[in-house]
Structures are given as C-alpha cells and as structure tokens.
Symmetry: D2
Subunit: 483 residues, 4 copies
C-alpha cells in the first residue's frame, strides 16, 4: 500500500536521498532510541526505513517500505536487543523503489556480520561494481551500499580500521556512513564533507551518530561535534577513536542542507539552520527590495526566510497560502477537467487576506517552475493585485551527483531561461533570487566551504561520466516488480 504519492505536489523540491543514525549504548531501550532517531530524521527519507542491532553475538534487523511508524511496531522493536545499532530512512527515484534496496544492508562475511547504512552517492560506484563483477561478485540490489559492503568484506582480514580505509581509498563521491559490526560502531564522512554527520553523547554513557543534530535532542543526547570530512570514528567498548583517513584542503558541504533539506531546529557545522534561513530572507530583502503590502511564505519550509524578509523590509508578515495538512496521503487525482482542484487542495489561498494586496511571496527554491506558476496564478485568481516572488536560493542550473535527486538538466527551468524569462513563465510581477554570495553570507561561512555545483556547475570532483550518462537513465539489468 502506497500511502504517499506526493509527486504531484513536491515535484518542485529536490529530494534528499537518506538519513542515517547509529548508537553505541548499553541500554535495553537501544532499539527505541534508534526508532525515535529515525522518526526525527523522517524528512530525509519517506520511502523505506530499517534498523539493525547487535548484542555482540547475534545481529537482528528489520526493514520495510513506508514511514518509520509504518515499518516498526512495539513487538518488532522489543525483539531487537543489543548494545550497538544503526538505522536508515530512504528516498529514492521511482524506478528503484523496492524493498531489496532498503537499508541497512546486512551481510554475513568472513568475520561475522556487517550492517551498513549510507547517505550519499558514489560517482565511481558503477565502475567498482563492474570491476567486482569481473572478479566474480554478484549483486542483488542496485544501491552503492552493496558495493561498499563488498569492499569492506574483501579487506576485512586487515582489521576494521584498515579495511574501512582501503575501502574509502577506492570509493569516490559523497557519503556519510554508519557501519555496525558485532561489537563496534563506525561513522565515516567523505573527505569533502558533502553529506552531514554529527556525533552526540549520552549523559549516562554511550555515543550516537546522526545525519542531523535534531536526532540528538529527541533522545536527550548532547551534541559533541561534527564528524570531520575525511574522518572515521570508531566506537567500541574501549571508547571512541578518531582516525583522519584523508585530509583535503578544500571542503564542499552541500549548501542545500541549509536551504531545504535539514530540519530547521538542526545545527550544521555550528550554524543554526533556522537562523541561516532567517538571514537568507533578510539578505534577499536587501538584494531584491520591493514595495508591497505583505510578505508571505510558501508553507512550511519558507517560513523563516519570509520572516527574515519581513523583518528586514519592514513589510508586514502574513499568510497568503495555507497548506492542507492532509495532503501527502494518497488521494484520488481529479480528472483533467477538475485538475485545478489538485492545486487548491494543497495550497489554499487566503482569499480575505489577499484581496487587492501586493504580496511578496517567499519560496526556498525553483526547480521546474511548475509550482511557482500555479502559486502565482492561484494568488492572482484569489484577488492579489501584485505578486512578487523571492527565492531564498540561487537559480538551480546543474544536476547533483552526490545523493540529491535532481531532475534532468533540461527540466531545470533556470538552465534554459534567464530570470526575466522565468518571471514571465510563472506570471510574477517581479522575481528575485538570492545571490550565491548572499546565500553563503546567510550561513556566515566562506563560499569555498560549500559545494555550489547546482548553482554554478563547478563540481568538487570529476563527474564527466555522470553527466554523460545523465539523460539516459540508470542502467538496469533486472527489476523487481512491486505489487
């Protein structure tokens, strides 16, 4: 049963591919902590969820399609006992949406069992896969995680640390990994720091690794620090060990975490996500001022930026659109003749608030432009005199190859139209995007620290092959049908 068919409504949004969590803690509630951690990271992946735990001797895992509370129940969690565990939530592109691809991936290898959860995307995953195939390896899934776990197993005789190092020497791309062996938890972040991973600590002992700090809050763990780019953290009963397996000059954290992916109550690299979004709104107000009667967000994600814009501009903040809280669940698509209903069911214009007003509408990004056009149309139809669109991210012109689900470049409206053309397409009275410098200023960090490839196509590593492949779709030699 598919409960979520949001494609029609979130097609404008880039999608994070995953969230990970790992806990080392001698606690009968271990699996509950993992569950609440995943629940908190749910926004990073609504398609599948999984947890694996180990008590040193026995590894138990469970995973399934659906939201965290749909996949797990009390009985299942009660059976998962251990002192170390990892969890995963996953988005995916539609074609690969089957349970075999759910994570953690748990395998038996020479040394026992290993469980792996991965957020990110390898740029040489297919290449390594083929080379492993030449060596006789078979693959049962289409996820990079299976490639990584094969490498880890191959090098396992070298010991945990060395096998991880050798594996990471080979793989290129974006990854935040949590790895569970019988008696250890390992967390790894790629050398450029593309995907986030943070470390927390429990007051009564034990450690937690998670994609975002909001997962620590819910389990009353204290945030310790970010896992550094190129750092491997290994937690065993001896305690925590840090290995800097690679040290690069540059850093390339994904800036979209601040714009849209991360939960606003998370802190990334020392910066409050909420604060950054508020700042972006303020800077946007300076970069693209306008006279208007009201500043309003596209709910929910753009609320902080809209507040910032209102504060900086002095224009009153108000609500122009209401988000239907029931949308997201399956519902019957209207016939063509009733198509407009679909928009109105999702984002409902506050007719009384809008009538005759000039409105600045703040959104966090424009991808295809479709939703923006619908919103402007809807506001105008509801009586808005003027609609000024302000976007708290720069124009998206490049595809991401590091774990974010972007449409083909040809579908990115900013890749083929300039700002004025986009303005016309969406029907706005004016349109302004924050500048790249404005965006990085909002975070308070130098732009060299970020991967900005989706805005400037300067990829932090070689992605020529990916670019070539893009448009042809992912190669598939087998496919699991879904009922």
């Amino acid at each position: 049963m598919k409960n979520f068919q949001q494609q029609d409504f979130t097609d404008e949004k880039l999608k994070e591919e995953c969230g990970v969590v790992g806990i080392y803690k001698n606690d009968a509630m271990l699996s509950k902590y993992l569950y609440y951690g995943l629940y908190t990271l749910q926004h990073r992946g609504e398609e599948s969820a999984g947890i694996a735990v180990s008590d040193g001797a026995r590894t138990e895992y469970h995973k399934g399609m659906g939201l965290v509370p749909e996949v797990f129940n009390d009985d299942i969690l009660a059976k998962m006992k251990g002192n170390v565990g990892i969890g995963h939530v996953r988005y995916s592109t539609s074609g690969e949406s089957y349970v075999e691809n759910a994570q953690p991936l748990v395998v038996r290898y020479r040394g026992g069992s290993i469980a792996l959860a991965h957020n990110g995307n390898l740029v040489n995953g297919e290449k390594i896969r083929r080379s492993l195939e030449d060596d006789g390896v078979v693959f049962q899934t289409s996820i990079d995680t299976e490639v990584i776990v094969n490498l880890l197993a191959r090098y396992s005789s070298d010991g945990t640390v060395e096998s991880v190092k050798r594996t990471l020497d080979l793989v290129k791309g974006a990854y935040a990994l949590v790895i569970m062996k019988e008696n250890e938890l390992i967390g790894v972040r790629d050398p450029l720091g593309l995907r986030p991973l943070s470390l927390g600590q429990f007051a009564d002992g034990g450690y937690v690794l998670a994609s975002e700090t909001c997962a620590f809050d819910v389990m009353d763990a204290e945030f310790v620090r970010e896992v550094e780019p190129g750092e491997m953290i290994r937690i065993t009963k001896e305690g925590l060990e840090s290995i800097q397996y690679k040290k690069l000059e540059k850093r390339a954290s994904c800036i979209f975490e601040y714009i849209y992916f991360a939960r606003p109550d998370s802190v990334l690299d020392g910066v409050s996500v909420y604060e950054a979004r508020l700042n972006a709104g303020k800077i946007l107000a300076k970069e693209h001022p306008v006279k208007a009667d009201m500043v309003a967000p596209v709910p929910d994600s753009s609320i902080p930026a809209a507040l910032g814009y209102a504060q900086a501009s002095g224009i009153p903040y108000g609500d122009a659109l209401m988000k239907n809280k029931y949308i997201g669940r399956t519902f019957i698509q209207p016939e063509q003749s009733l198509r407009e209903i679909a928009v109105k069911l999702k984002l409902i214009p506050f007719r009384e608030n809008i009538k005759g007003k000039s409105i600045v509408i703040i959104d966090d990004s424009i991808v295809r432009g479709t939703t923006s056009r619908r919103i402007v149309h809807s506001l105008k139809k509801a009586g808005a005199r003027e609609v000024h669109v302000r976007i708290s991210s720069p124009p998206v012109v490049g595809s991401c190859y590091f774990g974010i689900d972007t449409p083909h470049r040809r579908s990115l409206i900013a890749a083929t139209q300039n700002v004025e053309e986009i303005r016309k397409t969406i029907g706005a009275d004016s349109l302004g995007f924050i500048s790249i410098d404005g965006l990085t200023e909002s975070i308070g960090t130098h732009r060299d620290r970020f991967c900005l490839a989706c805005f400037d196509q300067k990829y932090p590593m070689d992605v020529k092959e990916q670019q070539k492949a893009n448009g042809d779709g992912p190669e598939k030699t087998f496919n699991r049908l879904q009922p």
Copy 2:
C-alpha cells in the same frame, strides 16, 4: 487499522463532531465533487467518512472508518452516479467509534429511501428515542441521526416539507442537516444557528450546501449566503425553495468555530475566520500586554493570533516551536522512562531561537492545561528566559452539549482554578486570556449572536438533564467491539 491515535497530543483541543456537504447538480462528476468537498472538510472529522448519491431511482452509498482518502477510491466513486448526493465526516468519542455510527445514515422507508447527514447534537435525542421505543421502534446505532430519520419517515406521508417541519418541531438542540431523497436535497439549520451551514451555487447550474465555505472554493462554486437559523432549504429540479420553519429573536452561533474549528480560509456569517483570529491576537495584545523579545504561536492553529499579537504589540514575531509534520500517524508510545520524548516528537523547541529570550507564546485555548504545561516546560528547558502565555479564547469552564466533544467539567482546568492558579500549574511567567468581549469584538459581532456557554455557562436552551447525566457517561445498552 487505526492510523490516528492523536489522543496524547490533541487532548487539549475541543473536537468538532462533524462536517456535512450536499450537492444537487446534474454532473457525471457529482461524487467527485462530494469527495473533494469532504476532503476540504476533513478537519471537522477524521474518524469516518461517507457519501450517498441518488439518480432518482437508485441510491448508492459507501462509508467507512478513516480519513476521506482512506475510505474512498476511484473505483468506488466511479460507481456512485447521480444528480443529488450528500457526504459526511465524523469525529466521535472513543466509546462509540464503530462503523455503524458512520454517516450518512441511509434507510428505506415507506416512500423510498432517505439519506441523512448530521452535524450537531440533540438535547432531547434520548427522550425522543425512548418515546419512539415505546412505540416499538428499534435502534441500531447510538447516533441522534437515527432518531431524526425515524421521525422523518413517520411523517413522510405529509410530504417532504411538512415531514421535516414536524420533525424539527420535536427535536431540540444543535443541528445542521443535509437530507437526500430520490430527487431532492434539503438543508436545515437549527433555529439558534448553533452549527454552521452555507449555500453555494455552481456557475453551470446546481447548488451545494456545506458546513464551511472552504468547500465551495475547492469545487469552484460561488458562495451565495448562509443558511439562516431556522431555515430549511429544499432543492429539486424546480429549483431552490426556502422555508423559514422557525424564527427566533435570539441567535447563538458557536463561537468556537472562529477560535479553532473552522478552517482559517472559511468565511462564517460574513466574517473571515483568519481575520477574526488575527484580530483576537491584536485585542489580546491590548488586554494583556507584556515586554518580551519574541511572539510565537503554538503551531498551526494559533499562527494568525500570534501574528496579530506581534503586529499590535510591536514585539517581533518568530518561531519558538516546530510541529512535527509526521505526528498524527500512529507511532510507538515511549515507555514511562522515555515519556518526555513524546512531547519533543510533537512540538520541537527551536533551541537557537529561544535561548535567553523572553517569549510570548500564543495558543487558541486551554482545556485541561496539560499541553500548556508541557510547552512551557519544554521552552524553558530549551533556554527561554521567560515564557508568557496568551490565550486567544476565554477560560473554558462549561461543557458543550451541542456537538462539541468537551471533557467532563471536572477536567476543565479553568473550572477549578483561577487564572493565577492556572499560571502556576503550567509554570508560565505570566498568563492572559482574551476577555469574552474582546473575543466577540474580534469577530465584529455583538455577543448576543453567539453561544458562549463554554465560557459563561449560559446555555441557550435547557440542558439540565445533560448536566445531570454528564459525569456518568453516555448510557449504552450495547456496544460494538472494534478489532
């Protein structure tokens, strides 16, 4: 499968008991319109949903437990063809949550079939029920709707209009009814106007009746006017006929529709709900000013009032709490030792936004006080220096007997504690409720127009028996078990 176990999180909220919709329109899409109408009225009842349609000869209906999109699918709607139809969404108290009580209630009677959907509550329902029982009538459900439909059938030989009149002569209480017979749609509102009902019209012919105007917007129907208290509207192929079956001097519309029940984009009795809430915030700021760093809402329902408060006070508006958008679905309750997690999963404090600040937190009502206490505690723990609570409704001291699910009077915190005591209980630095006059001023209507019984216990009709019964719970002689 219960998807919604919100009791732990919405226990502070009074619950509307129902939403109704009725359409008379010669349109192959009739059932789709009803579906989208119910979808829009979903907030008025999440427990069960139902639709009945008639093509003049044949009546089809379908109902079930769950949200509108869970109960209906394309196949079911495709089978429901007709030119007249009604729909219903329902809340209920836990003990009576079974499919037999779902509406519309469809019966066969002397004259054919009749379908009825009811929002409200009769104060003499049990009395009529007993008197009908004395006459040999049997009842299969515990809903007032079954009482009404029995009366309608009894008087049916008098013709539709007369039978409705005679029925309404007998019943006392709150009701907005939509009634479907083979070739007619009837809408009725009680003489005091306790429950809302509005009339809309389609540009291409046909009428729609709905609890709220937001249902008109989604189906592109034009709002015509409210159904008047004591008015019966009858729609047939001859057109629309209005019968003022009873005319009272006084009016007693439920003021909680403005405070919490109605969707903010609805217009009730000529007043925008959103506007009224904004005004309430402004008036609250005047009645209970305070020096603070930030005004923040308890999301989502208190956002307009918080904006109003911020505008009137000049204190910046901001976010102090984030609502987890996944809450509302089933999730595993934490053990006692992890109980605090449950609160944090629902309303997440924006630690970075709060730290060291004095915050005015706006909520729309306090019922039991539990949630308010948790919120204040949560904000303080997250670093708030001061927490000032402002409530955009007066203290709730009386139970409702007109269709709103209120806890027993002894559970209403304001029934047993004064404001200062409540303040201490919830741990706030200050606490202010809007006055009754302030509230009615926010709506711009004289207080005589409203039922304010939950605030002043002046019930617009005799409810002595209900008050006596209250505390003993509803009488039940049989009970359907749910799996």
Copy 3:
C-alpha cells in the same frame, strides 16, 4: 480483500444461507465456545460471521465479512464476556454482500437490547416490511432479520414469550432463530421444521442451540434433542422452558440438508447424515446399475454416496478426480484461451487410474449441468473409456424460497431437459438420478416429512408471489457499495 471467489467452481452447488448457534452458560470461555461453534458451522456460511454476548447488563457484539477466523481474534473474544451469547455465519447472493447484512442483528428497543440470528427465509418478509413502513418504520438492511426484530420489539411489552408468539403468528416461511436478550436465550424453529435446530447440554451446566449437532461435539456438549417444528425453547437462569407455539400435522424438513448442506458427522432428526448419504449410494446402485471398472466420487461431498454405490454394486471404489485443496482461495482467472486450466486446477483427473476404464462417477446433485459436463469431458480426455454419471439426489426442477440460494428456474438444467437430454448435454455414457422415494428411503423417513419442492415443486406453503418475483431479482431501493 475477498479471499473467496468460488463462484466459478461451486456454481453447481446450492448454497445454504446460514448457520446459527446460541449458548447459555456461566463460563468465562463463553465467547470461545461460540467461536468454535461457528468454526464448526463454517460450511453453512462463508461470507460473514458475528457473535453477540450479554452479561445481563451489557451487550457486546462483533461481526465482519469473511471466515470465522478472519473476523475474530483473541483480543476481540477476550473482550466479549457474558453468560449468554449467539453467533451466526452467513452466505449470501452477491448483490447483498455487505457488512450491514451480517448477523446477529443487535438493536436497542424499549426493554433493553435484543440480538437475533436467523437461518432461513420468510415468504411474507417484504409484505410485513411494507406494512411496518406504512407505520413509519425505517429499515437499514435488506435482511428478514430486521423485520423480525422490529416485530419482537413492537410486542415486547407483552413479555418475551408472548412477543415471540405474536411475531411468529405473523411471519411465514422458513426460520431457525436464536434470540438473545439480556438474561435469556430463545431458540425457535418454524412450524414446518424447514430449517434445522438442535438442543445440546453441557455436563457442567448450560445449554447450547445450534443448526447442526457437529457443533455440540466440538464443545463437548451432549446432544439432547432436536428443537421441534413450531417449538420455542427459552433458557433463563430458571432453566429451560419449552413452548409449542404452533403444532402442524405436516412436517417439511429440508431434504437437501441430508444431500449436501449438513456436515456428514451431524445427526439430523435422529439420522446420521453420513449414513443417509451412504444409503443413498446403495439405493442408487440398485435403481441405476451399470457394469463398470470403478466407482469414484466427485470429491469431497460425494464420497459417502460413492462408497455406498461401490458396496452395493460390488464395483471397486477408487479415485478418479482429486480436488485441489488450495482452490477456494482467490486466484487469477485464466484468459479465455487458457480457460480449460481453471477446471483442471480444481478437479484433477487421476490419469493413471482412469486410462481405459469404465467409470461410475457419483455426484450429489446437478444444478446447471456445467460442472458435470466439465467433469465428464475431463475424464474422457484423461482416457476413461466410459463415464457413467449417477446422482444421489433427484433432478432439481424448482427454486427454493426457504433460505437456499437456487438459480432461477430457467438455469436449472432439469427444469428444461429430461434425463436423456441432460445425459447428452453432459456427454455421459449413461446417467441416473436417485428417485424421490429412493432418497427418502435412504434417510429412513417417510417422504411426507420433507420439503421436496425443489424436486416436485410442491411447496409446503404458498409461494406464488415469490415465483412471480423470481426472475426480476430482489427489489432494492438502496445499495451499499463494497470497495
């Protein structure tokens, strides 16, 4: 989810409409006993199941679509406590297959609550329904049970016994009823004894009523006697009371209970069902002897008759057809081009057993003739030299109006073809039906004791109206859609 779509495979079979059970016993296991009783009567109705229990003050019930173990689970039964309870399993014609029609029907009436389970069919149900409608009664279902319960409630001020008597004075037709009130259990059998009902007793106190004695065995109750035609049995804490509310000279028990409906281990009116079927086979051998190599049953129901035929004829008994034990569950219907697969999936010829042999195949009835034709074809294709068909019931020429689901008369092959024509139609080398006298002889009871209307169209009461209506289908003014 429909688990059972047997129409394609059991279209040859007449279908019993219901099974009932009632228990009066002070036992914490009461609902379990009812459950196992229904489980044992499952063959009498696979569509819906329900149980209602009362502890004197409170009545609990649960019912649903599906088999007994699909409708009930441990949790539900654990909640159903009481000292009196009734249960029901139901077949139905497809058009009326919705949960509202599931039984027991539980209503609240003047005197408390009443639950009713009914096996049978009234011939004047619609007439009484109309007359009650004229009196203002509304109906929510299309089952006769609702008519009966309305009458019981009307007359309830006369006391239980009198109200039942007055009700039964009005209704005409076939019925075995179990009625539960707060502190009493009533069992009633129609004056002609059309539908079966037996009385059992527990060694440790308490009584049980059930459609068949096999339900007693499973709960270790001792069979006491049949409920007599026209007898009402009332069980209260004072004990058991028998009221002969009507005494007719003639009796008209349904003979098809012996032929097909009843479970072979049941005893009806003092006669073992298994024994009767064995005898029928023996008599059939005498009435329609043939020279052949093997006697084989159409499994499972015809096994005893085939054994009897083999014993009487001296022809060896063997298996020619195997029944696929998985059939009965949903499965994907083959395309037209693969249609023959459907037959082979159900009744599999034992090729090795058949090859070159002359076979006597025993079946319990021929209704439409379709299955017989398929079986003969299948056996011949598998190599049978000759196929002689013998039927342990006489030709079915008349529809049943007393609770058995028969096809329209025009679909009954024996209503339009004589034996020789049928033989040709089904492709058999010879065909013989047992005679009516042979059949009654097999039971060892005089033919006057039975309703034989399906064989001779001599109905034991006036069914002219039913015959007129037949062909037009049941009147319906409303319809509940199923997902």
Copy 4:
C-alpha cells in the same frame, strides 16, 4: 498477516522444502503458465512464491511470502513478459522464514543477470560458503541458492555449460535446479537423483521443466521424460541440449516423494504416485493383516493406501475421520482447558460410523507420534471398539539432510521406541509398519534405486558433519525479524 499456522496440525508430517518450474516458450502467456505451474506445485511449498522472467534484454521478478495466489495478481503477471522464466515455491523452517530467502534468487553478475530456483539441500553448502567468504564474498541470505549463484557467476567466463559443470563439481548434496539467463533455461538434477525434475514439451513449441509432472497437465504440456540424475538440460533458441555432467552407478531417489510429498496424480520415474500408494496399502494388508470391521484413512493423504488395504484385505473401506476443510487457516488456539477442541476441529470422528466397530486406520507415516496418539484417542472416545494402526511407510529413524525438514532425531518416536512401545504410546490395539522391501515393491523398483536413509540411516553420501551439527540448530549470524 500470517494466514497459515499449521504447525499444530501438521507436526507429524515431514515437509518438502520446495518446488521449481521453468519454461522456455515464446508466448505472451508465459508468466501465466508459470503461475499455474506454481499453483499446481503449491503443496511442495506454502511459505513463499516467486517468478522471474526474461525477454532476452530485461529481467523482471517478483516474490513474496504466502501462497501463490496471495503473492501474485493479474497486474503483476501482466508486467512480466518474456520468452523464458522460472518459478519457485518454498517451505522453510520457522527461523528462516523471511522474504530475503524467497526464490528465485536474481542477481546481476559480469555477464548480465542470472536467476536461480533450487529444490534440495547441499551437504557442503556451509563449507563452500566459508571458502567464498575467505575470498571476500558477502552473503545476504541463508539459503544454499546464494552459494550456487556465486559459483555460477565466478565461472561465468567459461560459458554457461562449463560454468554450471564447474559449479556442480563443487557442490554436494541434493538439488533440482532451474536456472534462467537472458536467453536460456537450464535444468539440472543432482547425480544421485535425490530430488525430482521432469521435462515436458508444448505442442506449439517450447519446453517446461518442473518438480512434478502434474504441472505439465495443467498447462497442456506433454510429459517427455525425467531429467536424468547428473544431467544438465539447456534450452535455447537453438533447441534442447542434454549434457550428462556426471554419471554414477547408483541412484538414490527420495522415496518419500512416493509416500507423501508428490501429488498423487504425478508420475515419478515412470511410476504413478497414486498407484504406488495403492500398492503400499495392499502390501501392508499382507504384511500386517488384522480382522476388523472397517478400513479408514487419515485424510487426505492416506486415502489411496487405505483403499489398497481394503481391497487386499476384503475389509470394507469407510470413513472414520473427516478433515475440516477450513483448517490450515489461522485460528485462535484454545486455552489449555479447551485443548482437546483443537484436535476435534481438525480431524472429526464420524461417531455414527465408528461406534462399536473395530477399525483399521491407515496413515502414511509416524514422525513424532503425537497425532497418531490423538487420533487413536479420538476414535476410541467416539466409540471405536478396537483401533488398529497401519502405516504405509517404515519407521522413520533418521534425519534427512537432503532438503526434507525432519525434526531432530531425538524427536522421532521410532528412533527411541520399538514398534510395541510405539503401539503403547499411541494407545492402538495393534500397529504395523510396511517393511522397506514392501515399500520398494509397491513402487515396483529395486530398493537400490532409492535413498532410504530416513528408514535405515544409510546415507547415500557423507553427512557426518550434518549429523554432528544437528541438534545445535543451524548456525546464524544474522536474522531478519518478521512483523
């Protein structure tokens, strides 16, 4: 949802582990043929089902827990198009019952994709697994199939035939394999012929491989011959190629296929399974004659043997026990105090048939003895004067390591008790098992052709390690939880 919890009722039965089918046929109905083939082989595995098809370029597969019609529906089959496909049904021991272990196993390897379905059990599977692990291979399941597919992939550069040969050179044990590559179908049977596999042909072109010939009948394929022990059959567009990859003097077909596993309408190695069972009954009658009033089977599997016994002994055949056709589905387990109900719900004694009689009851095997004891007790309680038990297989004294799920040796009653002791344990008046020679005579084949290890512990290959391991249960390093 588990529909089948038969453990309580079939604990006496050994369980076949799997059924396989493979089809090479250019037919739009290919997946339907596979479906009906699996439906026919359902008795060989009720736990999971799966199908994989290939059109030369693209491989699609679907598998799931449950019966064939529960796993597949029309939509899924419609999406599976190709000219070659394989299918699998599976039993399993409870601990390993998760979807990952369902087959076919589909992997991507150097040369494309490969799908494998396996019936049987390797005796050196764990050893090869460890040696592959030493080589860096990881395993995601606990089935031997994954070991085999890894070997096939390793040797794939040698070409299909050679890679299969090299793989089979390594593996030891029992196996019937169907292997699908993009354009070929391979069928393999182990050198001893432990597991059955037959070849069929379609009149309009194309081949089918299946565990039993009954699968051919349903799809109108003609039986060609058995796949020989040690033979590999490869079907491509060039046609069928046979490679005798190993030729042993001895043969060791599993004799339990004749006794219980195979469907009675199948033909194994030229012998009708039904006929063999009938013969076994006749021989049993000679080996263990007794004077009695009736011979009766334990339904359904022992019917042919009982008929044979009756024919040979001259004692009339009759029914003493009825099998509840609804058993097999989930049902609520009775409390200890009602435990006897569970037996009576399953096997119902025909009281009237039994009373005062001396009965010979025929069963196909005794494993633990529990069911036999219950049956004897049940018959005696129902009035049987004497109960003589005759078993159409010799005493089971050894565990199987070749794909049959046997309990630990210590649970086999015949491993610890002699016949007289067993007789006392089960409470029979006499007890007789067929001799090994009698059993092989019933099949008409010399005893050297069979694996009789479960009767004489003479295993056809070295199983010392298995015997050592037995009792400790299967090694597991990880475990997937089931909800």
